[in-house]
Homo-oligomer: 323 residues x 2
Amino acid sequence: MAVYTEVSDDALRAFLADYDLGDLVAFRGIAEGVENSNYNLRTTSGDFILTLYEKRVDPADLPYFLGLMQHLAARGVSCPRPVPGRDGSALRMLAGRHAAITTFLPGVWPRTVRLGHCGPVGEALGALHLAGADYATERPNALGPEGWAPLLAGALADGGAAAEALAPGLGPELRDALARILDAWPERLPRGQIHADLFPDNVFFLDGRVSGLIDFYFAATDLYAYDVAVCLNAWCFEPDVSLNVTKARALLHGYMARRPLAPAELAALPVLAQGAAIRFALTRLYDWINTPPGALVTRKDPRDYVRRLRFHLAAKDAGAYGL
Amino acid sequence: MAVYTEVSDDALRAFLADYDLGDLVAFRGIAEGVENSNYNLRTTSGDFILTLYEKRVDPADLPYFLGLMQHLAARGVSCPRPVPGRDGSALRMLAGRHAAITTFLPGVWPRTVRLGHCGPVGEALGALHLAGADYATERPNALGPEGWAPLLAGALADGGAAAEALAPGLGPELRDALARILDAWPERLPRGQIHADLFPDNVFFLDGRVSGLIDFYFAATDLYAYDVAVCLNAWCFEPDVSLNVTKARALLHGYMARRPLAPAELAALPVLAQGAAIRFALTRLYDWINTPPGALVTRKDPRDYVRRLRFHLAAKDAGAYGL
């Protein structure tokens, strides 16, 4: 469910009057997405996406996100391009929310990840990293290593009772793993603009090729290889939470065809993958505990990422991922 | 939230292979609607809606619904037209559900009803009734008068405790009102195919004109004037649940410009409007009590329709609606 804010007809018309997009033809809510309200918007100029930024997005970050999309799109990345109003500004207000119109991208996100998706998504991620290299603005990764201890503390704020109820021993397991990960965290790897959330529902495919990368609202300035590790977690595990090493190899080879991984990046893959797994385990655990009954958002089970974490903790080197 | 069933890429491609619609271009869930799963589907032939019928729809009724849409569209009603597969059948299976593709309709449903919407929606309803007059199939209205006593019994199955908790005295009030309504219910008014759920989110407007009527999955064979009474309830009350008599008059005049109401229909308007109000009060009450916490559907407060019911119970004649 991704329509939290309803937009009145009058407000929408007044909003569109500030653009050179012609007349309104259709306006329908989009089911996908959980952070913001998204609408399919059709005008006599074509198809667009209208996004209203909800409370989880810090308005101060919006210029970074929109600027990054603009920058990447100008360099050939198939990502939404912010559409400016007549005054040149793409970031506007609608229905009491910050809002932006972006271009519509064709394609279908894969409900089931096949091997054939993994190479192209790796390549697309490598291309994204290269295209973002000269984007000068920086955004600290609030959900990077420095954010994980506070996240864990928040999830265990009740003395760990809710985590224990979900899975016996979960709190201590996460605490031990986090200490180990932070202790081994690599600091000096190549860094730049990363997507940080490139899950299958954020990647459109058309005829077997990537036709769109969307949802840049977790993007940040952080380790490139950490972004690769997020993708290993998101794309290369089977429903039984076993790693498909063939998919991992395809994803890594796809990435390296665009941006070769340095020896230090390869050596750090296990700990980076541990970090990526604990990051999603922690946010899901936090949401699991703090999502009120009756909320419109489906809670995701954090245990899927705890199982991934265990796999990565046992991984000795990049060989665990097929290299 | 209106995506209950996820469709895998492979299943979607196999499904589309049975149509002459060209290649898949985009596929996104639609947020609107609560009964079925709806997707925007774009192929190289154009834009369509893919609907997967969920558990509340009886598969035995689907030929009636799809046949009615086909019939109405052929007679110029702007409603979704079922698109047949190569074998000529529009009703098919996908992801374990009955499914159909229908045409995309432009327009925007009014988040805020203005006076200018009410005449056109009345006209559109009148045109729908005329166009459906020679559709030979019949479908009893399961949510018509004969369904209301069982619905009330279901909502009060706990001895009325949940209804009492929602609003003190609600159970007895509904019981008394229902007895009075059923006692006065008119049997011999003109009947035919009715939409039965023509709320604002089921009507698209473009440039002030009705561009689409959607969601025929409550359609049935029942009193035409009852359909008008549903619209009076859905379109003509202000947020403070007072009737806007100017809107009611506009809606009725719009309808009568297409299909004049007989004196007996006009005389029955108060009891028909009472029936329409109690129908939505009862289904909302039932859902309110029976929707589990954490469900993806937003429950609608039945009290808004109890207040409408009180207005209609106090109405003496069609004069209460501006005639």
